[in-house]
């Protein structure tokens, strides 16, 4: 479960050095767009050397490799594949690319005796990917979908606005697909890194559509993103009351009961329980009886 995914340019020692202090749930070390074509080799070496120094990191590690349409992507994999890497973020993902990547990962995992399954986070940033989304969400290893709105709107030849009406459809579609196949829905980055208010609004809107995490392209965005995707104390208190009332009701074998003048039934109780699991995961509540 992650709320925030922080992109860190792969060839930037000063940013690498402090990547871990901002409270990002996951960090995506970027070998693709943030690294110029002449520095891909440097970036791979740097990330590799950096990974070797990490002991029990408090965040999940992902690497955005270059697309598999050139040889760069598989060279990236060859350099960074390591037990510590939780997943690979794949740009311009299509069903066939994801399948190809999955095979490559099989090979590396076998050869390097990596015991866990490395997951894949496809970036949905082409019209084709939006179209194939149901299929993509079901592929093995796919643990989340990440909306890449800049490239997607480019592909669509439409304007990218701060309000983001143009990405309402792909956002909703990703959220539905992810919910359907029980994977995470990661929202596109908010690119104006100085506009905190705009970021909060954008993240809240994404959340209202069903997204459960958001990318950050600057460490200063993490705090707001984490806050947005963490249950609020008000919601937690409400959920605790519902679960407690439900327990009381169960004792007397009642399925539906009323709390503060509102009818509470199973869907409401289930929602409250899900919220509490999330709250517990992010350290908002301590002892919750999970049933």
């Amino acid at each position: 479960m992650h709320r925030s995914y922080l992109f860190i340019p792969g060839n930037h020692p000063a940013m690498l050095q402090n990547a871990d202090i901002f409270g990002a749930d996951a960090i995506i070390f970027d070998l693709e767009d943030a690294v110029s074509i002449n520095e891909k080799d440097s970036a791979r070496q740097l990330i590799k050397a950096f990974f070797e120094t990490l002991q029990k990191p408090k965040f999940s590690i992902y690497v955005r490799i270059n697309g598999l349409n050139s040889s760069l992507g598989s060279i990236d994999l060859n350099m960074v594949m390591n037990e510590i890497v939780e997943g690979i973020v794949l740009p311009k993902a299509t069903v066939s690319d994801i399948k190809m990547l999955s095979k490559l990962l099989d090979t590396f995992e076998n050869a390097r005796r990596i015991k866990k399954k490395t997951v894949i986070i496809p970036i949905i940033e082409t019209a084709k990917a939006v179209f194939e989304i149901g299929q993509i969400a079901q592929l093995p290893r796919v643990s989340a979908l990440l909306l890449g709105a800049e490239d997607l709107t480019g592909d669509m030849e439409i304007e990218r606005t701060k309000q983001g009406i143009e990405i309402e459809y792909p956002r909703a579609k990703i959220a539905f697909a992810c919910k359907a196949f029980e994977i995470e829905a990661i929202d596109t980055p908010f690119t104006d890194v100085t506009d905190d208010e705009g970021l909060e609004k954008d993240a809240l809107h994404a959340k209202s559509l069903g997204m459960n995490a958001k990318c950050a392209i600057h460490p200063n965005q993490i705090e707001i993103i984490n806050k947005t995707f963490t249950p609020t104390m008000v919601a937690i208190d409400e959920a605790l009351r519902i679960v407690k009332a439900d327990e009381e009701a169960q004792k007397v074998h009642r399925g539906v009961f009323s709390l503060n003048g509102k009818m509470v039934d199973k869907p409401v109780v289930d929602r409250a329980k899900k919220l509490l699991i999330k709250a517990k995961h992010f350290g908002m509540v301590e002892d919750i009886d999970e049933k």
Binding site: I21, P219, N220
Partner: protein, 503 residues
Amino acid sequence: MKNNLGREIFEQVKPFASSDAFNQESRRLIAKKTTEESVVFLKSIEEAFDLLKIKNGMTISFHHHLRNGDKVINLVAETLKKRGIKDITIAASSLFPNNAPLVDLIKDQTITGIVTNYINGPIAKAIGEGYLKNPLIMDTHGGRARAIESGDLKIDIAFIATPAVDRLGNGSGKFGPSACGTIGYVIPDLMYAKKVVLMTDYMTEHIVEPELASEYVDYVVMIDKIGDSEGIVSGTTKVTRDPVGRKIARDTVRVLDALHLIKDGFSMQTGAGGVSLAVVEYVKNIMIQSEIKARFASGGITGQYVDMLENNLVDTLYDVQCFDLKAARSYRENRRHIAISASEYGNPFEIKPIVNDLDFVILGATEVDLDFNVNVTTDSLGQIIGGSGGHSDTAHGAKVTMIVTNLLKARLPIIKEKVTCVTTPGEDIDIIVTERGIAINPLRTDLIDTLSKTKLPIVTIEDLMKTAHHIAGVPNHYELSHQPIGYVRYRDGSIIDTLYKIK
């Protein structure tokens, strides 16, 4: 000889004992000066030199309110040189890079002594290289006021850059092309220097409530320009966007919040560094959200505090120096924006200096050691890069003193076993906030009790150093030279540490 902190100091000086040792002493005051004759207006600095009979061995003082835009210090220095006067001591509240022309005068011994509270740039470098004949003395802002009023620092002539002067010889920082706002650091010079010269480029008919009263003034000299307004503005008055700095600022505010220091009627001081400004921004947000109003903010004042004053988030600003033109404007227009003198600000012997009334202060550091001693005077090679300013004064006065600093700066751990130079004693430092943990002075068991119950990343200072070493490696020990070139004088007049020639 060693002082109480174990620092080697000059023989025949008063060794530092503790930050509250001054309580055992009584205040010493020399007679204030008064001029019976009326103020004499002069047309050139040459005339002033003739009348003042400036001669070898004198001590001449200046203030630094025009900061890096000041033209008066250089003009006086140039005139000293032209007249072949030697062996002058410069007592300037601070010296900045624009005073670089003084380097040649130090080398040819026109200037042989410097007493100041803060110094950076070419002069600091030249002194570090050993060019100043007599030991450099570094005071605190409050300590300089004490030194002057007690006669420890005797000033023969104060040349006071004054943005506006009226027909009677009263002076103010409020008006004129070089208006810089309050001029609090020069008040002791005004009252105790043997002769006082206001240097101005702006004459006005009448100044109401002048900061510089004509009763202390001997001469007024009209010159072309006393300063460049661009240089007057401090370069650092921007909220940091650096994510590490902002993270430190956020954690600092969490500490303040956990300690319930942000509550109705509180008082605060912060510097003008980027992290401090971010702290103020976050504090301000909490105040707006929770409808809290502060009693006062003090020290060097920035536009940010002016916004808070104008939005009624703070009742009063006690301003010893304006950091930007917005602060200068506010001081001119707002009755709740009050000028204070260096003595009222931080002199330990004042009955109630403002610093003693502070709930908390946020300060910086170039090094902190395991005893919580803080260095803001030199870098880790012993090169002078600043000085206390109000650091030691506020650290002693405030109920909670917090240091905000990166744990590493360009690979160098900021936490050291022993600091290169002690500016402020560890007994007055309560909390260190870094991007990789927060350390609390073991003396403050009350703070440890409260903060260890929170989710804040509280660690020991030894842990902080270990973390830094784990990331960067253990730095080699660097041995300073053994040639003293000056000393750091604590606010009570005792000597807290020695400055050495750089290798």
